[in-house]
Symmetry: C2
Subunit: 433 residues, 2 copies
């Protein structure tokens, strides 16, 4: 008999014999009757077994196959249950050791280390499980929107001869006889691919930052949702593309993941037709006037980001806020600047629910302007020959952005630590599983 | 005026003024008339400029913006051309150095190193460009099929504390105070995610092999198309899923990339409803009988793969051939074996046009069988605690496979070297761009 998924069970099956496979979530015995909740990837159903003492195989979290009859039962969750006999229960894979924690309570645990040590088991908790269904839909939605917009997907190297942003915070790799690095971002490569003629490219790939600090918003290996587009008029086009992307993406999530969001008890944000944008200087004023807080020269710090988000949410009714016009000295050398005010870049961050989830902007496309700027930044253009190459041959005006997948997931799912939004987080202290 | 794409130009625009942006592919001057072929990401159109001497800006590969009138012209490619005046031509980004090669001849070059040194420029060649439109569609098609089949996308760490297959051929990374490695495959993680309750998972991600040899079929960083599925009955289910995947994928490619395949002058293979499968022992016989070639104990070598593919194509009319039943000693420790013939594994390779493009099989799901097998392989289960964990708590029967994206692309596009199917290939000698 062919297995059917639990979500496929409906009134049409009443009276029929079906085969289900999944994990036993709970077992209860009342007299001669055993009630099991069985879960597969699609749902949960109650299975009832009447007969002698509980079969020793029937343990919580064991993987089983059940062949039984579908019965209408008003009192069962979903109005349907499956009745089986001893011979209808097949153990596929047993539990060989006591569970380290109760799976159903894993989302409330006070010992995150224990959960991460048993990460796969903890993900059997329905809430934790939901986070990564949402993340899967997020990655897919990001790509589908951009494919519709004429973007091409690329996969660029994560092993690089030198760093993008000037050589700090890099992990080094022993590559045969050479010392090389893990890429901090696909920045150079996505720009090169714009210049290669694809014009619009995106990548969903790993990025690495050898940052030592241990915060709730940093992990050392993360997924960067990147896009880059050519023949732009200005950096607002990038912000407009992101606004449309987010709007599309949230609609996609509400259609594909409503169960997961309900389980998590969170509601999806709306994306305004135009996300409000303020300059770094306006941000400084707001922080000073409304919150009597000083802002560093580089732009808002984490506490400032939280306050600005709060302000935007309360005053502008938007959970999203662009910050623009970061100073040239605080952005990478390839960032386009305002030719009339050279210290102001045509760049932006996007804040969402108190945290920066995107960095983007227009890039310098003129070869001479770019090499001049490198020198201003204390870099030697000769160290960047292969990156600079395409700028010699008609590199169009372009720009792009990077969204941190785990940060966006964290905020959409109302998690308190970015690690919870990474399947197998990597930080200074955690390398397993 | 808003830019329109070249592919949008049609008879409806005749007589209208439009704005185009792209790169100048060729320039010809006849008397007072200049003919330019202008290309954007969507297509090519002829632009005609009548007037004084060629504007110095007009150089091949420069990025320009053209505002001009759409004219019906039977003799122009596509039956349409755009007429412009001096003031309708805007240079967006010039060419500051002589081109290192003729872009239109880049696909026939005899100096691949030069092409890779100027990779982005060489990709402006229409044939080389097409390869990565196909690759983008391949990645997307792989995911879309699996999402339809109830798979969840995952992103697993590429920084790992130890290797999957026993510690050889790993690149090491300096990770703060520790020495760690780049993942050779997501094998352990995708299995863990099956056990975490997702049952069916896939990943499109980088994999790293520190293999020193320099062949046309190896690169050191590649994209692995992985899936893994739980609650299977046997390993044939994995082969069936791959057959359906390939069939769907090739249909998807024929719908979305026919222009690219035409440009490359290659035709898409068909996928038989059932891809023929032979055992390693049958392969040995065939190689001996038909080609008087000895086969190594581990299975066919590259020359053997080519001969077996030739045989399948000629005798079975299939460009695809499964090889099954590899010996246990030649497959990783986690490979499920036939309990009646312990030396035979329930695993397979898929050959396509002379090369292995997939390795897959059923995995051991029983905790004790798995730890016993580790010991047989000379491994210490204590070194694999975090991987083994989920096997203690109801790990269902499962299996999966990995497809090499670049190899599949290479063979579909009839390329002679896998490097040509990697945007920025990495091998022992090449780390840039």
């Amino acid at each position: 008999m062919k297995r059917i998924l639990i979500k496929e069970l409906n009134e049409k099956f009443i009276g029929n014999t079906v085969k289900l496979q999944g994990w036993i979530k709970t077992v209860r015995r009342l007299g001669k009757i055993t009630f099991m909740m069985v879960r597969d990837r699609s749902g949960i159903v109650q299975v009832v077994y009447e007969g002698d003492k509980v079969i020793p195989l029937i343990a919580e979290e064991a993987a089983i196959s059940i062949t039984g009859k579908v019965i209408k039962e008003e009192r069962a969750p979903g109005g349907i249950e499956v009745h089986t006999l001893k011979e209808g229960i097949e153990l596929l894979s047993g539990v060989v050791e006591n569970l380290p924690f109760e799976v159903k309570k894993a989302d409330q645990s006070v010992n995150p280390d224990k959960l991460y040590n048993h990460r796969a088991l903890s993900l059997r908790n329905q809430k934790l499980y939901s986070i990564f269904l949402i993340q899967s839909a997020l990655m897919n939605g990001f790509r589908q929107f951009l494919l519709q917009e004429g973007f091409t997907e690329i996969s660029t190297p994560k092993i690089v001869a030198s760093g993008t942003e000037g050589g700090t915070e890099l992990f080094s790799v022993d590559y045969f006889e050479q010392k090389v690095y893990l890429a901090q971002s696909p920045q150079f490569y996505k720009q090169m691919m714009v210049g290669a003629g694809y014009e619009r490219v995106f990548e969903v790939g790993k990025a690495y930052r050898a940052e030592k600090h241990d915060t709730s918003r940093h992990i050392n290996e993360y997924v960067s949702l990147d896009f880059e587009m050519g023949f732009i008029e200005n950096y607002q086009e990038i912000m407009d593309m992101e606004t449309r992307l987010l709007s599309w993406l949230l609609n996609h999530l509400s259609l594909s993941c409503s169960n997961s969001f309900n389980l998590l008890g969170v509601s999806l944000p709306t994306v305004p037709e135009k996300i409000p944008a303020i300059s770094v200087e306006q941000a400084r004023e707001i922080l000073k006037e409304k919150f009597t807080k000083q802002m560093p020269a580089s732009g808002p710090d984490p506490a400032g980001e939280r306050l600005l988000s709060k302000w935007a949410s309360e005053e502008l009714n938007s959970e999203w806020l662009f910050i623009t016009g970061f100073p040239s000295t605080k952005r990478p050398f390839y960032t386009m600047f305002d030719p009339l005010k050279r210290n102001i870049t045509w760049s932006f961050d996007l804040l969402f629910r108190g945290i920066e989830v995107t960095t983007g902007g227009q890039r310098i496309h003129d070869y001479h302007m770019l090499t001049d700027n490198m020198v201003k930044f204390g870099l030697n253009p000769e160290d960047y020959t292969s990156y600079l190459d395409i700028f010699k041959y008609g590199m169009p005006p372009h720009g792009g952005l990077a969204i941190g997948l785990e940060r966006l997931t964290m905020k959409l799912c109302d998690l308190s630590n970015v690690r919870e939004a990474s399947l197998f987080p990597r930080d200074r202290n955690r390398l397993i599983p």
